[in-house]
Amino acid sequence: MAEAANEGSTLAEAVPGPGASAGDAAQRIRPPKIHPLLRYVLVRIGISILLIWGVTIVTFLLTNLVPTDPVAAILGDRAAADPEIVAQTRERLGLDQPLIVQYFTYLGNLLQGDLGVSNQTRTPVLDSIGQVFPASIELGIGAILISVILGLLLGLLSALKQNTILDHAIRTLSLIGISAPTFWIATVGYFVFFFKLRVVPGAGRLDPWITPPPKVTGLYTVDALLSGQMATFTNALGHLVLPSCVLALFTIGLLTRFSRSSVLDVIRLDYVTAAKAKGLPTGTVVFKYIFRGALVPIITVVGLAFGSLLSGAVLTETVFAWNGIGQYAFRGATTLDLPVIMGVGLVIGIVYILVNFIVDLIYGFVDPRVRVR
């Protein structure tokens, strides 16, 4: 047993770092005797907080360093011509303070939930975003479900049938998928499936004669189910189909391409040959060994895909008259309502960071090399 003891001594070094993306930061910091998973989570939390802080700096600088004069925008042309009123307003807004002081004021306001007031409607930006956000969440969940399921399956199929006609077809289609402007697909899809074929309901989240379900989560489908209104549920679901499919198109292409290359990387690994050498049925080899191995890198891309869904939402919600953050942003952009645009940018930036944080956590829990010591 001397040999076994010898092997045991190398056990401590045999623990590899977590995956590449997680490893960089996690390996540099080495406090003694913290469970690796806890350390991993703490590092991820730290990175996310730093990023969110950075995002506030970006929106602050963009609001304050731009050529357009905020005072003029607030006061309107006539008042802006009066230097005294301008000076008073500058003082009232704190614009005479040094930039760093202004930043901390801004940050303090943000922490209290004050994202400014829309120049157009005079309503607080955070309130408006809070009202419309559930609509976007509902759309986003629909789209991410469709794109993850289809993207992974198509990518897996494409890789397993590498260099066949099916593979070439899937690769070409996914390239076309990431080449189409989402807002155009939305317009065409709406025209074809609603205007011509009438197979999907029209714009909006519900038919106009249906009252929204009592608000619990703000997601109409969920709220309708919670209150037992089946008719409302089917209607809301019907309205969800086309927008989420359109929105998913780009991410399906993205995930298909990524999961194909991820599966191809795994297929040639030894453990797949070893699984085949054990005489396991093809289904077990594919799903238990290949797919599970390919899934880890794919998980990290889902966060990225969510980012392109958020971008897509800003560009498509208007087409479907979907009263979410995208339509709010579109209105803000077309009227150059700076507080609205910055508020949307800040909120989407933070949501994106949080989603990636969650994705990193899932990654950590899925991979035993991170989870178990």
């Binding site: 076994a4 092997e7 045991g8 070893a274 049925p281 599970r292 191995g293 880890v296 178990v372």
Partner: protein, 263 residues
């Protein structure tokens, strides 16, 4: 008596428009309770011979000749039938134990999933068999080991687990592809000793593939020397080592460390 007899085995692989001949008229036998060692440089086709027995030749490979396994012809056998033999009658251990195990599945799961598939054994019984077989291959703390993940073991321990996985269904043939190459020199001898014991106790017909002639001279009963897809020499260990017939074999023996001293 021979369990596997390979006769005039040819293997060529076509990629695109080029065809490569990997094995040319390879013939030798594997016998129960004996270790047949195949030596040769990289690219000599020794690994491909093992994979051909397993039916795991690469895509685009054409096989001809004969691999007789207890009266069953393995060359160009239907994939499904071959799959029923793999893991049960024919088993294999790979070069690098760290990459031959799935990093996200427990060791216990990976050494029993083929047992459960082939012999329809219950989960609990599979676990008991796993613990038992890990004891057999001298993995420390077998009861805890089944619940652990591959990264929690050292290379030598993992290779022992790989041997456990290979013999759990009581196979007749074991193909060991460079089983010690990726390991520390200090644990290589232990793994070879284990291979010898398993071969003797379980009456296994072992095909030991290695580029290391030193390994063969210590553990193999029969030695087959391959070069560029051709068997250049085959015979009992004593005969091949003391009186090599072929130039290439002689050069392999002379390149062994300490060769000059022993002569």
């Amino acid at each position: 008596m021979s369990v596997i007899s390979i006769r005039d085995l040819n293997l060529s692989v076509t990629t695109g428009k080029t065809t490569k001949h990997i094995l040319k008229d390879v013939s030798f036998d594997l016998e129960a309770g004996r270790i047949t060692g195949v030596a040769g440089a990289s690219g000599s086709g020794k690994t491909q011979t093992g994979l051909a027995v397993m039916g795991l030749s690469p895509a685009g490979a054409q096989l001809s000749g004969s691999i007789d396994f207890d009266g069953v012809e393995l060359v160009n056998m239907p994939a499904k039938a071959h799959n029923r033999l793999r893991g049960v009658q024919l088993s294999m251990v790979f070069q690098d134990p760290a990459s031959a195990f799935h990093p996200m599945l427990t060791v216990g799961d990976q050494i029993t999933d083929h047992l459960r598939h082939h012999q329809k054994v219950s989960k609990r019984e599979a676990r008991e068999r796993a613990v038992h077989i890990l004891e057999r291959t001298k993995v420390p703390h077998p009861t805890e080991a089944v619940g652990k993940y591959p990264h929690q073991f050292s290379g030598g321990q993992l290779q022992r687990i790989a041997f456990a996985s290979a013999i759990i269904c009581d196979p007749k043939v074991l193909i060991a592809d460079e089983p010690t190459t990726a390991l520390d020199v200090t644990v290589q001898a232990g793994i070879l000793r284990l291979l010898r014991e398993l071969c003797d106790d379980l009456e296994l017909a072992v095909l030991l593939v290695t580029h290391d002639f030193g390994v063969l001279s210590s553990v193999a009963d029969t030695i087959v020397v391959m070069k560029e897809g051709v068997v250049v020499e085959a015979g009992d260990r004593e005969a091949v080592i003391t009186a090599p017939q072929h130039e290439y074999t002689r050069s392999l023996i002379e390149s062994l460390p300490g060769a000059e001293v022993s002569q």
